[in-house]
């Protein structure tokens, strides 16, 4: 049978050869540097130890906590908005509003992080565009205006930038649902909110989780946004890593911070893989 010849014989060698280039790329460009940074994090003048980690904790404990909090808040908000957008696209009754939303919501997807950060820098500043518009409209007094260029600015930028990505996945999954369950619930008189929460979300939960995990990992790795928006301390770990290297040429502590970020993302990666295995196959 066809499957037998694919599993054994010469085809197996061919498939190995076909996989080799990408495997080699991963080994060279990811595994080798990863090993290198792990070694450098634990090495200290000739011997092994945790000095770099101790220093990372001593100097940046607040930043580690800050990073975790920012990433969690941002991811949660991204999930909320993505569900709201996906839900309206699926259940919305005004076709014109649905069409406009469908056209609009993807835009931030095509804007790089650094450009979003620059946009927000002028938009969220104390005398920036947002506050000026609010003052012009008489909704805000000049003296009350505050700058959002701190942790709130980071969260706003991340949510604005990442929501379309998750919304795209979620809306796709919602559109693919069997509509009979929705119609049945509607016939029995369920409100749209209830349909969304009790019928739709449970069915697309896997897709939502995957989108959120990818968002979480992406946010952990962004340097430009905290660097451009938040000059204060505490700040995010990526900024500290860049500073350790650029200012002190200190790769040891920078790599220790890197490993701490690996651990923070490693936890969700573990959930991601486990979810896939529970579903009886490779992770989606």
């Amino acid at each position: 049978m066809a499957t037998d010849t694919q599993a054994n014989g010469p085809n197996r060698i061919i498939s190995m050869v076909l996989v080799a280039p990408s495997l080699l790329m991963i080994a060279l460009l990811f595994l080798y540097p990863l090993g290198f940074s792990v070694v450098s994090a634990f090495a200290e003048s000739g011997s092994w130890g945790l000095a770099n980690f101790y220093k990372a904790y001593q100097f940046y404990s607040r930043d580690i906590l800050f990073t975790i909090v920012i990433v969690l808040i941002s991811t949660a908000l991204v999930g909320l908005f993505a569900i709201a957008i996906g839900g309206y696209l699926t259940l919305g009754e005004n076709p014109r509003a649905v069409a406009i939303l469908r056209w609009l919501y993807r835009w931030p997807l095509f804007i790089p992080f650094i450009v979003s950060a620059q946009l927000m820098r002028t938009f969220l500043a104390k005398n920036g565009m947002m506050n000026n518009v609010l003052i012009e409209l008489g909704l805000l007094d000049q003296l009350q205006s505050v700058s959002f260029l701190d942790w709130r600015g980071i969260v706003v930028t991340f949510v604005w930038k990442q929501t379309p990505f998750v919304a795209l996945l979620v809306a796709g999954a919602m559109a693919a649902l069997d509509r009979t369950t929705i119609e049945a619930a509607r016939n029995l008189g369920a409100s749209r909110l209830r349909i969304l929460i009790e019928i739709i979300i449970p069915q697309i939960a896997t897709t939502l989780m995957v989108g959120l995990i990818l968002t979480y990992v992406v946010i952990m790795s962004v340097l430009s946004v905290p660097l451009m928006i938040n000059a204060q301390s505490p700040t995010m770990l990526t900024v500290d890593m860049a500073f350790r290297i650029n200012s002190y040429g200190d790769y040891g502590v920078a790599n220790a911070l890197g490993i701490i970020s690996y651990l923070i993302t490693g936890i969700v990666a573990w959930f991601y893989l486990r979810q896939g295995l529970d579903n009886g196959g490779s992770p989606k």
């Binding site: 001593q58 820098r121 000059a231 505490p234 500290d240 500073f243």
Partner: protein, 381 residues
């Protein structure tokens, strides 16, 4: 140029072929500075050099500002050295003090100053020592730059003249002073270094050494005062961020680079009512250096390039007049080639006497790292 030479070469004339090879000599200039330093070479110095040396093309690589920019040059050269390359592909490196000193210590640079005709025009201490490291012979200063406090003269009638007065002013005007911390550009670092010169005791030792690692034990008072000061001010996102916030009226005062300040004012990006004050006991400034990697592929051409760049005429027209930097070579050589009006413009807010009294160098490298680490440990975490 390329489009013209290719068909000509195809015509097969040997003499033309020679011309083609000559046209392909590329002088690689790596600039570890801000955007304006890259523009200086692409828009001004590069075309001038290409005109004087037919067949040479100047290619500039901007590696970004601050320590990070020059760090990239170090990494590139070190990698080429470790790979055992015979020639390296950076011909001229433009770097800041701390990292250029590291390049010298690592043996990655060539001693060239004695071999160029303009070598004797730079006699300031900065052309011999960089943050406590002897760089004599390896560098020519491209320009000198200085930090100072910019303030909105509509809101602040009499600007503070010292760190003490500044602290009192900031206490009375909460959130009206702004700076960018130490992770976001050198103007903030300068403000912190100036603070340490004022309050950490023995500023001369920080600037000249000798290094004693126990010194940092005496800084707790200065640092806890700085932490208290930070409670009452606004943090800005970067060197440009401070100028942006001054422009939008969100802060009334903050540390800036003098050259950036004048350039932005000339472009209309900040209003004319912003003025500068170099407060006592002083704030740091720094030169940027031209250097030549030890195995630069075109080192003779590189020397010619630096010779042009540090000639009095170019220093006057390019560095002072167009880009508002203080000259790299000694001022007396430059002043002669310059319209007195232009010279005066450079010293409108900060007079030459103030500059001499309050323009300080950055600390020697080990103290500099200690100050930044102490700030991270005791002020921000």
């Amino acid at each position: 140029m390329k489009y013209l030479t290719i068909p000509l070469a195809l015509a097969g004339a040997i003499s033309l072929n020679v011309q083609v090879t000559a046209a392909e000599t590329i002088l690689n200039v790596a600039s570890g500075g801000s955007e304006n330093m890259v523009q200086y070479v692409t828009d001004y110095l590069g075309p001038m050099f290409e005109k004087q040396n037919p067949g040479v093309k100047v290619r500039v690589i901007g590696t970004g500002p601050g320590d990070a920019g020059t760090q990239k040059i170090i990494e590139k050269l070190e990698a080429q050295k470790n790979a055992g390359k015979e020639t390296w592909d950076i011909d001229v490196a433009v770097g800041n003090q701390q990292k250029t000193a590291e390049l010298v210590n690592m043996g990655l640079l060539k001693s060239y100053r004695a071999k160029i005709s303009t070598g004797s025009l730079a006699t300031r201490d900065t052309s011999k020592m960089a943050l406590g490291v002897n760089v004599d012979g390896y560098v020519m200063p491209m320009f000198h730059s200085q930090t100072a406090i910019a303030y909105n003269s509509d809101l602040v009638a009499t600007p503070p003249g010292s760190y003490d007065e500044l602290r009192a002013w900031a206490l009375k005007n909460p959130k009206a002073f702004g700076y960018n911390g130490i992770k976001n550009g050198m103007s903030g670092v300068s403000f912190v270094v100036g603070w340490m010169y004022a309050y950490a005791g023995d500023a001369a030792k920080l600037q000249n050494g000798p290094y004693d690692e126990n010194t940092k034990g005496n800084w707790d008072g200065a640092l806890s005062n700085l932490k208290a000061f930070n409670e009452n001010i606004t943090f800005t996102p970067g060197n440009a961020g401070t100028l942006d916030m001054l422009n939008r009226g969100e802060i009334a005062m903050g540390p800036v680079w003098v050259d950036m300040f004048y350039s932005w004012q000339a472009d209309g990006r900040i209003p004319p009512n912003l003025k500068l004050k170099l407060i006592s006991p002083g704030m740091p400034g720094q030169p940027y250096y031209y250097s030549i990697p030890a195995k630069a592929a075109n080192s003779d051409l590189a020397m010619k390039f630096i010779e042009l760049a540090t000639s009095p005429k170019v220093q006057a027209e390019g560095i002072v007049n167009r880009f508002n930097w203080y000259p790299g070579i000694d001022a007396m050589h430059v002043e002669k080639s310059l319209d007195p009006m232009v010279w005066k413009k450079l010293f409108t807010d900060v007079t030459p006497d103030e500059l001499a009294a309050n323009g300080k160098p950055f600390p020697i490298a080990p103290y500099f790292s200690d100050i930044k680490e102490a700030y991270e440990l005791k002020v921000s975490n």
